[in-house]
């Protein structure tokens, strides 16, 4: 059985890097109810859970939606934000560590609409997410902040795409992650400035802390521009924990794992602050700390 492509980068590159696309894990490839529909290529329509969670933000209004996924293995959210509206969308994925997860989010923003998207990816043995934000309206904006934590032999595949179509759009994509043990992560972040997106600005940044030998981190920051009057920037920094910081913390009596917990907590803090529920924040922090505590190395 050939595996379905769940997400792919808009511009392909060398195959040996293995980053061109993400395949849907077999356990999530359910047989469609209607076999006559088999030719349908797109992933959500093909499966029984083809009805996405629909969110509609009326003009000028603000809507906040918080999803905590604890058992759902496949999720699909589609949101439309009308003129001047704001959507605060928060997705927290805390699946058991023996389950695979695939989540898709598609948001379209109208004129002067704003989408604030916050994601926490700490659960599941194999995580796939595909976030597509379309800044259709002039002056629309996206603010994306995500954290991920990979440990044991977890695999994470995150594909985020922000498409600038309207004029004077603004995108900010901040992704922070930590990898330990034998975890394997791919993050593809794309800022796509389409023709006509004059005056648009996009910033993308990924920061990854690598805690031990044996991890695999793949970062693919893409920037596509068909418009000259735009300003795009992206940056990636990947490496071990700041030795000075670690040394300082350990000189204050903390052992290495405690010091790591503090440093990771600090890295995640600005993203977790966007989660309004204090208990939820606490639960996520505790989960991450436990994972660090039980790290194999």
């Amino acid at each position: 059985m050939t595996q379905d492509i769940f997400s792919e980068i808009p511009l392909r590159t060398w195959r040996w890097l293995g980053v061109n696309e993400a395949l849907l894990p077999e356990e999530l490839q359910q047989v469609p109810n209607d076999l006559s529909n088999k030719n349908t290529q797109s992933f959500p329509e093909k499966l029984p859970w083809e009805m996405p969670e629909q969110i509609s933000v009326p003009a000028g209004e603000t809507v906040e939606k918080i999803f905590v996924f604890r058992s759902e293995q496949v999720t699909n959210i589609r949101a439309e934000v009308a003129r001047g509206g704001t959507l605060n969308l928060i997705c927290i994925q805390l699946l058991p560590t023996d389950k695979a997860y695939a989540g898709k989010v598609l948001v379209t923003a109208g004129e002067k609409a704003k989408i604030n998207y916050t994601a926490v990816e700490v659960g599941a043995v194999h995580t796939l997410t595909n976030l597509q934000i379309e800044l259709d309206g002039n002056g629309s904006a996206a603010d994306v902040a995500a954290v991920y934590f990979g440990d044991a032999d977890r695999r994470l595949d995150l594909n985020y795409v922000i498409t600038h179509k309207g004029t004077d759009t603004d995108a900010d994509m901040q992704v922070r992650g930590v990898l330990q043990d034998a975890s394997d992560k791919i993050f593809r972040g794309t800022l796509d400035f389409r023709q006509g997106s004059r005056g648009s600005v996009g910033r993308e940044k990924e920061e990854v802390i690598l805690l031990n030998e044996g991890i695999r981190n793949r970062s693919v920051p893409l920037m596509l521009a068909q418009e000259d009057a735009v300003n795009g920037q992206h940056a990636v920094s990947a490496g071990h924990m700041d030795r000075d910081k670690l040394f300082y913390l350990m000189s204050r009596g903390l052992d290495e794992k405690e010091a790591r917990k503090l440093a990771v907590g600090a890295l995640f803090a600005t993203v977790l602050e966007r989660v309004p529920d204090a208990d939820l924040r606490e639960e996520i922090s505790r989960e991450v700390e436990e994972r660090i505590e039980h790290g194999q190395r």
Partner: protein
């Protein structure tokens, strides 16, 4: 308010689009068959092992599919490309023996001038065969070997056999396989242990016959603690039929050696430039790439550095200028295999008049390459709304003790910069010119003076302030 734009004129190509009458004495049949390969091999008086190599490569060429990424190369029909064209002249030992017509073309490109002044040797490739080649006496006295590749296959067979297409094996990709089958011409440089070649060696390639491919092979071996600067320039006249360039460059930088490999490519606008360049760097060795891509209809060029020994280093500096009808896909790859390896990649791309420029890179850090450091910086300038510029870097890291950083920017010339300079009393046109010159400076300053001047001549940017 309508924003003002800097207008950058197309590269002045008149000089480079001079076409000489095709007087080749021998051409293979069009298309690629085993018979053609045997024919090429016979003409070149290849040793048996080289014929076998060519035939095995041909098999690979048939087996390997075209890449499913990168620019559109569907305009390329191998059946239309004559793989081997030998010009009218025989190998020439000195400048006087080179045919007048060929000489005139080189004169226009300024090669003998450069050679007469400070450059130590010229291996100029006219069509597929080296027609003029010279190495100054002091180099020979130092034990440096600098010769055309056909001569090397016969006179230095053992060395060639040991290194030829070991770094870029024919199975690597379709055009590497093609190269292995039909390679012709190129340069061979061997720098013995501890020898420092003080003046740059240069080789200038030109393509002349319509529909002819160029498949030159460059093999450079820098033994322990030696150093060399090699300059390769490419230019071809304009033709109607699509031309293919599938050269191959293999560089071996041994322990403590340094090699700088500079290229200015300015193929005509019908050229498909699908070139493969790779360097293997041993302990404490350094490879420096300086790469300017200005010509071609399509370019796929990603010099690759394999940092094999501890503390091996790579410095890559590149400029790409894509204008009307061009799709230039350039960048670099670095594979870090040993502890303490480091790489610095610095690129600039400019797109205008509907041109498309892509920066593509891969940085791979293997398990065990502890202490590896890599910094990538790429900046792209779009000069109008018809053009496009894409950035596609990949970092693949398999160890924790690393420092990997990547930064990229894309945009137009900022109004603030223009405003600042004009507020300092500089005219707007000059302000815009200054910014564009500053943008390409990292490459210009990495080149020897005469090549920096040539690059400026190649670009011949006419910066005119005003409304775009």
């Amino acid at each position: 308010m309508e924003q003002k734009k800097t207008f950058v004129e197309d590269i002045e190509r008149t000089l480079y689009d001079i076409r000489n009458e095709d007087r080749s004495v021998y051409k293979t049949e069009r298309g690629l068959t085993e018979e053609i390969i045997r024919d090429i091999s016979r003409q070149k008086k290849d040793p048996e092992w080289m014929l076998d190599f060519r035939l095995k490569s041909l098999e690979k060429y048939y087996q390997i599919p075209l890449p499913d990424w990168g620019p559109d190369i569907s305009g390329l029909n191998m059946d239309d490309i004559v793989t081997y064209v030998r010009p009218g002249g025989k190998m020439a030992g000195n400048w006087q023996e080179v045919p007048e017509e060929i000489k005139a073309t080189f004169d226009r490109l300024g090669i003998p001038e450069a050679e007469r002044t400070s450059l130590s040797g010229v291996g100029a490739q006219y069509d597929s065969e080296v027609v003029y080649h010279r190495v100054q006496k002091e180099l020979s006295d130092q034990g440096v070997i600098y010769t055309d590749f056909e001569t090397a296959v016969h006179e230095y067979e053992d060395i060639v056999k040991e290194y030829f297409m070991k770094l870029v094996p024919p199975k690597d990709h379709k055009f590497a396989a093609l190269h292995g089958a039909v390679w012709s011409g190129g340069s061979f440089v061997y720098v013995p242990e501890g020898v420092h070649v003080d003046i740059p060696l240069q080789s200038y390639f030109r393509l002349n016959a319509a529909g002819a491919g160029q498949f030159e092979h460059t093999l450079i071996i820098c033994e322990k603690n030696s150093s060399l600067h090699f300059i390769e320039g490419c230019s071809a006249p304009r033709y109607n039929v699509t031309n293919l360039h599938a050269g191959c460059v293999e560089l071996y930088v041994k322990e403590g050696a340094r090699l700088r490999y500079s290229t200015i490519e300015n193929w005509s606008r019908n050229m498909m430039n699908l070139n493969t360049k790779r360097a293997l760097v041993e302990k404490d060795g350094l490879i420096e790439w300086v790469s300017g891509s200005f010509g071609s209809r399509v370019s796929c060029l990603y010099p690759s550095s394999i940092l094999h020994g501890e503390n091996a280093r790579c410095e890559f500096t590149g400029v790409t200028f894509a204008s009307r009808g061009q799709d230039l896909d350039t960048g670099a790859t670095v594979v870090m295999l040993a502890p303490g390896t480091s790489a610095n990649i610095n690129t600039r791309t400019i797109s205008k008049s509907g041109g498309a420029a892509t920066y593509r890179s891969a940085v791979k850090v293997a398990p065990g390459a502890r202490g590896a450091k890599c910094l990538v910086n790429c900046e792209s300038l779009l000069l109008d709304e018809k053009s496009r510029s894409d950035t596609l870097p990949v970092m693949d890291i398999e160890t924790d003790e690393v420092e990997i950083g990547h930064e990229a920017k894309i945009g137009r010339i900022s109004d603030e910069a223009i405003f600042y300079l004009t507020s300092r009393g500089i005219g707007e046109e000059e302000a815009q010119a200054m910014i564009v010159r500053g943008f390409v400076e990292p490459v210009a300053k990495a080149l020897p003076l005469e090549y920096a001047v040539e690059m400026n001549n190649l670009i011949n940017m006419e910066l005119v302030g005003g409304m775009g």
